[in-house]
C-alpha cells in the first residue's frame, strides 16, 4: 500500500515567487525567510516522495465567482502555472498523479464528501510557491507528481475548520488503501496572519502565528474547534486560509513529531512560516 511519509505546512505568499523570479532570495529582506526552508528541502530529498498532495486556494486565477466549489480535486495529468496578470512564470508544468487523484475522488464521494472534480485547470501561486519552497525550482521537471486540492477561502461560505479536518481523514484512509508502494507527502498551505482588504489591511498577529506553529502539531483540536469567524478575527481575512493546514493535520496521526518550524515576519504583508511533521 502507499505510505504517508509526512505532513508539511507553509505560507504561499506570491511575492516569494516574485523574489525567486528576480533572484532576490539571498537579499537582506528575503534571506531570513528562505533560510527556514533549508530543512524542509533537505527533508524532501531524504524522504523521496513520489506524490505531493497540495491543499491550497485559488486566488481568482483559475476560478471566478460564477461558480464557487467549496472543495475541488484535480485529476489532470498535467497542470500549467496560471498567468495571474503579470504574464506566465518561467517554471515547469506540474505532472498530475492522475490515478491516485481519481482514486481519492472516488473515496471522497464514497464517504459522503462531494467535491468538484477538475481535469483541465491551471494552478496559481497557492501551489507554485509551496512547491518552489519545498523542492527548489527545477530546470525542467518537478521531482514529484501532484494531487492538487483547492479549498474555497475567498467567498463566504468557506468550509468550516472541522470539515477541512474531515477531508484530511479521508485522504489518510485513501493513501493507506491505495494499492501501490508510492510515497506520499501532504502539504497544507496558506496563512499565516494577513489581511489585504478593508481598513484593517496590514493586520498581523505574531503571537497567534507563533501559537499556531507551536500547537498545530500536538494540540490541533484547539484550532479545529474554532469558527470560521474566529479564524478571520485572529489571523485576518486572508489569514483564515490557515484552515487548509487542517486538511494536512487531519491526515496525520493524533500524535506527531514536530521536526521543524520556522517563522518570519513580514513577508510582504504576511506572517510567513512553515512546519514539518512526521507521524510519531
Amino acid at each position: 500500500m502507499a505510505k504517508l511519509i509526512g505532513g508539511l505546512g507553509t505560507s504561499h505568499v506570491p511575492s516569494i515567487g516574485v523574489a525567486l523570479d528576480k533572484g532576490q532570495d539571498q537579499t537582506d529582506y528575503w534571506k531570513p525567510l528562505f533560510d527556514g526552508y533549508d530543512y524542509p528541502k533537505q527533508w524532501m530529498k531524504e524522504n523521496r516522495p513520489d506524490i505531493a498532495v497540495v491543499i491550497f486556494n485559488d486566488h481568482g486565477n483559475a476560478m471566478f465567482l460564477d461558480r464557487v466549489p467549496t472543495f475541488t480535486v484535480g485529476v489532470a495529468d498535467k497542470y500549467a502555472p496560471a498567468d495571474e496578470g503579470w504574464g506566465p512564470r518561467a517554471i515547469p508544468h506540474f505532472d498530475g498523479a492522475e490515478d491516485f487523484s481519481w482514486y481519492f475522488a472516488d473515496k471522497l464521494v464514497e464517504n459522503h464528501f462531494d467535491p468538484m472534480i477538475a481535469r483541465e485547470i491551471d494552478v496559481d501561486h497557492g501551489l507554485q510557491v509551496p512547491m518552489e519552497l519545498f523542492f527548489g525550482r527545477p530546470e525542467d521537471k518537478w521531482p514529484v507528481r501532484i494531487l492538487p486540492i483547492w479549498v474555497n477561502t475567498v467567498q463566504f461560505p468557506i468550509p468550516t475548520p472541522q470539515r477541512c479536518w474531515e477531508m484530511g481523514q479521508i485522504l489518510r484512509a485513501a493513501i493507506e488503501s491505495y494499492p501501490t508502494d508510492e510515497r506520499i507527502v501532504v502539504m497544507g498551505t496558506g496563512g499565516l496572519s494577513h489581511q489585504l482588504q478593508g481598513t484593517r489591511a496590514g493586520f498581523l498577529n505574531e503571537q497567534a502565528d507563533r501559537d499556531w506553529l507551536a500547537s498545530i502539531g500536538n494540540n490541533p483540536g484547539k484550532w479545529r474547534d474554532l469558527s470560521r469567524e474566529d479564524f478571520v478575527e485572529i489571523f485576518g481575512s486572508e489569514g483564515a486560509e490557515l484552515i487548509m493546514w487542517l486538511v494536512m493535520r487531519g491526515a496525520m496521526d493524533a500524535s506527531v513529531n514536530v521536526k521543524h518550524t520556522h517563522y518570519h515576519l513580514p513577508a510582504s504583508m504576511t506572517g510567513a512560516g512553515c512546519i514539518v511533521l512526521e507521524n510519531a
Binding site: V154, F156, L196, G198, T199, A201, E229, G236, P266, M269
Partner: protein, 112 residues
C-alpha cells in the same frame, strides 16, 4: 464591502459583496488574458464599458481608488490584476485602505 460587520474593519466577501461587485470583479478577472490587458491599456474606459460597470464603479477603477473598489464589492484577488497593468505595490494598496501613507503603513502595521 462594509467594514461595519461582525469583525471590526474587516469586510467578509459574502453574498452581498458577490452581488455588488460582480461586474467589477469580472472585468478584473478578464485581465488574466493578454488581449484584455492590451484592450485595458489601449482604451480603459471602453474596456470597462464592455463589462457594464456603473458610473461610480468606473470612477473608482479609473482613479485607482482601492478602498472604494473594495467598498463597492471588489475582491482584492481580482482587482489586484489592475495593479499588474498599472504597477502599484500591494503595500500601497494596503496603505490606501488603511488610510495611511505607505511609510506609516509599513511602520505601524507591518512593523518594519
Amino acid at each position: 464591502m462594509s467594514d461595519t460587520g461582525k469583525i471590526a474593519q474587516t469586510p467578509l466577501f459574502d453574498r452581498k459583496a458577490n452581488i455588488r461587485g460582480y461586474k467589477l470583479n469580472k472585468m478584473a478577472m478578464a485581465l488574466v488574458e493578454e488581449h484584455n490587458r492590451q484592450a485595458f491599456k489601449d482604451n480603459e474606459e471602453a474596456y470597462l464599458d464592455r463589462f457594464g460597470l456603473d458610473a461610480v464603479t468606473k470612477a473608482a477603477v479609473m482613479s485607482r481608488d482601492w478602498h472604494e473598489m473594495v467598498r463597492l464589492g471588489g475582491n482584492l484577488f481580482f482587482i489586484l490584476k489592475i495593479s499588474a497593468i498599472d504597477p502599484t505595490p500591494i503595500i500601497s494598496i494596503g496603505a490606501a485602505q488603511a488610510g495611511m501613507t505607505p511609510e506609516d503603513f509599513i511602520k505601524n502595521r507591518l512593523g518594519k
